[in-house]
Each structure stands twice: as C-alpha cells, then as structure tokens.
C-alpha cells in the first residue's frame, strides 16, 4: 500500500466538507474491497476519508412501508436485524450470504453499492426490489444508479447516506458461488409485488448487473419456476466469460438460479 493522508470525520457534514475539498480522496466504508485494492497498488488515493466514525450513517428503520438502511450498516447487521427479517426476509438472507462472518462484520451496504462489483450481491437485490440510493445530494433509483462494471451514477464528493428499500414484495436471491473465491459466478434476485415482477442478474453481465426482461414477462403471467421453461436465456454475447465459467455456462446458470429464486420467493 502506498502512503496516504487519513481523515476520520464524526459527522456527515464534516465528511461532506472533506470530500468536497479532497477531490482525489476515496471514501472508506468497511474497506473490504478498497484496502485489498490498495494493497495490490491497483488504487493509490492520496487520502482516505474513513466513514466509520460517522454514527448517523448506521442503523435500520422501518418508515411506512420502506426499510431505511444507513449506508454504513454492516452485512451482519442487516442479516441479523429483526426488522429486516420480518419485513423482507430475503434481504436478510442475501446479506447473510455475503463473504464470511468476519467480512460481514465489516462490509457495508453503502460500500457494496458504491463499488458496484459485477459479482456483488446487493446490486442485484436492490435493483430487483426497486430500491432508492440516497446521497448527500439527491435520490437515485437503483435502475439509474448502477451504470456499468465498478461504475455508478455517483459524482465526485457525493456520499451515499442511506438506502430505501420498499417492502411487501415476495423476494429471494440465489447465487452460484465460485468454489474458491465464494463470489457469485451468477446471482439472481427475483421480486414480485402486485403485477410488478423484476429479475435482476449479477456476476454475469458484461456491463454488470442487469434485468432479464423476458423472464420478467413470463413470471408476470404466472409466478412459478415452470413459467421460465422455454424462455430464451440471456445471450452469451452480452455475458462475461473467464477461467471460472464460460459465457454460455453463465447463461445456463442464470436460468437455474432464477428458478431457484422464484421457488424461494414463493416460500418453497
């Protein structure tokens, strides 16, 4: 790791001022992507703004029909939250499947969405659920937030403060993990609320997380795994292929994980 300057604000206002003044600085949340990237010298920010001291960025609340999750809320906190387990159990399961227990004690929902790793679990879940990412400047629908691999709609100096997740959907996320890294080779999130059905896919798309429209149309007619029989799988041309799995195999896995997610979302 190259040397850097370090700031640890205790309020969001301080953090915002520091971010505005240090255009090249990186925000540090749980650090479980940023610090390894810095160790490999793939990133060498001149300064880090550590958000771990900003208490107002943590916590989970149910406001009306929405879960409001602070950006610095850890995966373990989401997985263990009675509020989340009651209102949206599939989201607690998703958070409880990220990394391992120690990683879940540090990694945060805000850090995960800001990084938009193409294999991360939260982007698929939040896209399927129609969540809103709230920043120090605006509210961004998940459908506009995740733009491409490791890319988001965030602008310089903009800090994610909380994620608003609508409840009331039948929701589940299923992933096929790489046996070594445990990252999703393919992960599929399915949400059904009234007539709206959303199917979001992570780990596979050449441009990162995406929605699978054909599956959504089929599941909107009848919400059962059988509805996906005969539905054209996503074209491998738009998918990633690497040493772990070819694009064709990933395409196949999307169908399998989607069926499993529909079953799980139906409580079966």
């Amino acid at each position: 790791m190259y040397a850097f300057d370090y700031h640890r604000p205790t309020t969001l206002k301080q953090a915002g001022n520091l971010a505005a003044k240090n255009a090249e600085a990186k925000l540090l949340a749980g650090g479980h992507t940023l610090l390894p990237t810095m160790k490999q010298r793939l990133a060498s920010p001149p300064a880090l703004i550590d958000l771990s001291g900003v208490a107002e960025l943590s916590g989970i609340a149910l406001k009306g029909r929405n879960l409001v999750i602070g950006a610095m809320t850890t995966h373990a906190e989401v997985a263990g939250s009675d509020l989340v387990k009651a209102a949206l159990p599939g989201l607690a399961v998703l958070a409880g499947g990220i990394g391992d227990p120690h990683v879940r004690h540090r990694g945060t929902i805000g850090g995960s969405v800001a990084n938009n790793d193409p294999s991360a679990d939260y982007p698929a879940g939040l896209l399927a659920l129609g969540a809103t990412i709230v920043t120090t400047k605006r509210r961004i629908p998940a459908s506009e937030f995740f733009t491409s691999l490791f890319s988001t709609a965030l602008e310089e100096g903009e800090i994610i403060t909380r994620i608003i997740v609508p409840t009331g959907a039948k929701f589940a996320y299923q992933k096929f993990r790489n046996p070594a890294s445990r990252y999703a080779m393919v992960g599929v999130a399915v949400a059904k609320k009234g007539a709206r059905v959303a199917v979001a896919v992570t780990g596979a798309g050449a441009d990162g997380v995406f929605r699978w429209a054909e599956a959504e149309a089929a599941l909107a007619r009848r919400f059962t795994p059988k509805s996906l029989d005969g539905v054209a799988l996503p074209d491998p041309k738009g998918l990633n292929g690497d040493i772990h799995a070819s694009a064709e195999y990933r395409s196949h896995l999307i169908g399998v994980m989607a069926r499993r997610a529909v079953l799980a979302a139906s409580g079966k």
Binding site: Y6, L48, A76, P101, R106
Partner: protein, 162 residues
Amino acid sequence: MPRVSMRVNGAQVSASVEPRTLLVQFLREHQRLTGTHVGCDTSQCGACVVHVNGKAIKSCTTLALSCEGAEVTTIEGLAAGHDLHPMQAAFRAHHGLQCGFCTPGMIMAAIDMVNRLGPDLSEETIRHELEGNICRCTGYHNIVKAIRAGAAAMGGMPLAAE
C-alpha cells in the same frame, strides 16, 4: 504521524502510526502480540481474526486508525493466567491443529460463533460458519470437534473428549 489509542486485551495502548498501518501490523509490530498471524493478506484465510468491540474481524483488512477507541481482543487475551479459555482447552484436547498457524484465528472465530449463535452448535453450522477460516493441514475434522466441545464448555455443559 497520527496517534491511535485503543484497549488491547484490557490494557490501554497508544502509538503513532502511519495511516496505512493495518490493525494486524499494529498488534504484531507495535504491541508485539505475534499470536495474530498473517496468512494470505487478502482477507480470505482468517489467520488474522481478532475481536473488535466484541466482533470477529480480519485485522489484515482493517486500518489501525479505524480502531480508534475500540476494544480489541487477541488470542493472547483469552487465557486467565495459566488457565486456558475453554475454547483453547478444547482445541488442545481434540487436537484441533497440526502446524498451528491458523489456530489463533480459528479460536477467535469459534468464540465469535458461540457469541452469536450460542453454545449448542451442530457440526453443519460449525462447518458453514468456518467459511472465513482456512486450514491447510487438518481437513477441519478435529477443528470442528474442538469447536463443538469448546462451545459446549463455554455454555457450561462440557462434551466428553473423544
């Protein structure tokens, strides 16, 4: 250089550190607590697991400065004098190690497991929960046995050693 203060194994400690100092470096090099190990340095192997504010974390992927004011427990902080912590005793009784390099992280992870899930842990739960700790010697079998017994002992209902 910025100064960082925390409690480590009950003792207040403080040092000037470079911002890039990792918690594991702070513990090993500044505090000379070399029981916490660095195996992979890429947050996969779990040899560096310590407790920060009561939760197991990977100290190779945490900045020392992020732990300002924290309560840190390492493997050295478990025993009471010559009396091993029940989880340490169980690892000895069940021979839950071969080379021993991963053992401090295994024991810290095991105690965290009991703190979160209680003392009655099934083999399946233990194997699943050990996802973040890698052992390249044992094949995990005796580690799992040790954790079951150590967990039961922590709950005050010791299992017989096999």
